[in-house]
């Protein structure tokens, strides 16, 4: 690990001021991803600003009937919150589908949104990576791309976003509340928060440099059946090959899709509004036509073309779960 200086701050304002004094510093909260990357010197901040003491660790009702989740709420506490379990089940399900209990006890809401890809070429500092060293090339495209993106990728980067939580937040139309370096409030819909790689895969989010996430807001609950089905290389504690977040209602055995988003397929959570619109317009669709909409424009590699049939089968299983009204 490269040497760094360290300070604790007590308020969001102090956090922004500390960042202003130390350009290039990093905020640290749970640290479960940042410290991992610092050990490998993929991240090498000269200064760490510990924000664990600034509050922002509660979950509160909003005037609009939703929930405001503090940036420092731990993943475990978010998944276990009674309101979240009762009314935003897809979010509880997504969180406990990721990582391990030890990591979820430490990792925060904001940190989960900001976690970096687990592309093995991003992690291997001997290899080129446009995300880690812009302009150096992408070793994954011609390398082992078993768990890389099939949607929204570019000639510069085929990495995926590893978060399960973010997929649920995308299905729920969450908003990321931030403070810009000058202290102004800025709301970013989670739809716009994560970026596609394009020619600048090093730019992963819409968060302004030096800005601080303060909370994530959920709109009113949508009701319905909430399902998060995750397929991975082993039964637990692994990143998704394909994950499906589904909110649906069931009428006389017919599944009416309300919200549909995927993880494991792209550089950002992959919401499929085209599929939702079929149902919103009063139409109906079976698994394969929906999957065709999901996979429109897919660009699989030799190693991850298995995700095409896996998306269909996982979607079919998820719709089957919904029909039974249950979890997966």
């Amino acid at each position: 690990m490269k040497p760094f200086t360290y300070e604790r701050v007590a308020t969001p304002g102090e956090a922004l001021a500390a960042m202003d004094r130390n350009p290039g510093a990093r905020f640290i909260a749970g640290g479960t991803n940042l410290l991992d990357l610092m050990k490998l010197e993929i991240e090498a901040p000269a200064h760490l600003i510990d924000v664990n003491g600034i509050g922002l660790d509660s979950i509160e009702a909003t005037a609009e009937g939703g929930l405001r989740i503090g940036a420092l709420v731990r993943n475990t506490d978010l998944a276990a919150h009674p309101k979240v379990r009762e009314e935003y089940g897809v979010l509880s399900r997504a969180i406990v589908a990721g990582a391990s209990a030890q990591l979820r006890n430490k990792a925060t809401t904001a940190g989960n949104l900001l976690q970096r890809t687990r592309c093995p070429y991003f992690y291997n500092t001997d290899m080129p990576c446009n995300k880690r060293r812009p302009g150096s090339g992408c070793a994954a495209i011609s390398g082992i791309s078993h768990n890389h993106a099939i949607l929204g990728a570019s000639g510069a980067c085929i990495a995926t976003n590893p978060s399960d939580m973010a997929v649920a937040l995308r299905a729920l139309d969450a908003t990321v509340e931030t403070l810009t370096p000058d202290g102004a409030k800025r709301s970013i819909p989670v739809a716009d928060f994560h970026r596609l790689p394009g020619d600048t895969p090093e730019l992963e989010t819409a968060l302004a440099p030096g800005a601080l996430i303060t909370s994530v807001t959920l709109p009113q609950p949508r009701g319905g059946v909430h399902i998060y089905r995750k397929v991975r290389d082993r039964a637990s504690y692994a990143f998704a090959n394909v994950a499906v977040a589904l909110i649906a209602t069931v009428e006389a055995g017919r599944v009416i899709v309300d919200r549909l988003a995927f993880g494991g397929l792209a550089h950002k959570p992959w919401r499929v509004e085209a599929a939702e619109e079929v149902f919103a317009a009063g139409g109906d669709a079976k698994t394969d036509p929906i999957a065709d909409l999901v996979l429109a424009g897919a660009t699989p590699t030799e190693h991850n073309a298995y995700k095409l049939p896996l998306v269909r089968r996982t979607l079919a299983a998820t719709l089957g779960d919904a029909r039974k009204g249950g979890m997966s």
């Binding site: 690990m1 410290l35 991992d36 510990d50 998944a79 009762e86 509880s92 391990s100 030890q102 637990s236």
Partner: protein, 168 residues
């Protein structure tokens, strides 16, 4: 940099490079070598300790981030002659071979019963809103952050079931 930790009930003062993880502070500076360094990247769980009552990977947190925090390691759970019931159950059920992962396994095992009682769901929980019974399936899922290279898993589950009382 100075940091004061409460470890296993004792206030301890250390002067540490800010880069020192909590795990290295415990092992290298405080002589508490029960917590083990396996992968040093949060994947194996051998470094699991309690901080303010919750299990975490001590390899993925800096010691200076825990000023004033209460840390409990395997040494604080029990000792020869006064074993924690989970330690006794691991011996009774032969829940280890080489023993390297065992301190982390036991800390996780103790923690998971508290987590289930507090309503924390897991990936295999059928009903998010019902009381959570610690079935063998639940125990396996809730222990998935602790790897045992000797694969003593069946006996680890048996030991935990005895203490957690989940006979389902």
């Amino acid at each position: 940099m100075h940091v004061k930790l409460n470890v296993n009930g004792h206030d301890l003062n250390c002067d540490l490079d800010p880069r020192t993880t909590l795990l290295d502070a415990l092992r290298e500076h405080l002589g508490l070598t029960g917590s083990k360094k396996g992968c040093d990247q949060g994947q194996c769980g051998a470094c699991t300790v309690f901080v303010n009552g919750r299990r975490i990977n001590s390899c993925l947190t800096l010691a200076v981030m825990h000023e004033g925090d209460a840390v409990v390691t395997i040494e604080g759970l029990g000792a020869p002659g006064m074993l924690h019931p989970m330690q006794a159950a691991f011996i009774e059920h032969d829940a280890f071979q080489c023993g390297y992962c065992t301190p982390g396994q036991i800390c996780s095992a103790v923690a998971l019963t508290d987590e289930a009682a507090a309503g924390v769901p897991s990936h295999v929980t059928a009903d998010l809103c019902a009381p959570m019974a610690l079935t063998a399936t639940e125990i396996r899922e809730r222990m998935s952050g602790n790897i045992c290279r000797c694969a003593a898993y069946p006996n680890i589950v048996a030991a935990i079931r005895e203490v957690a009382g989940g006979k389902a």
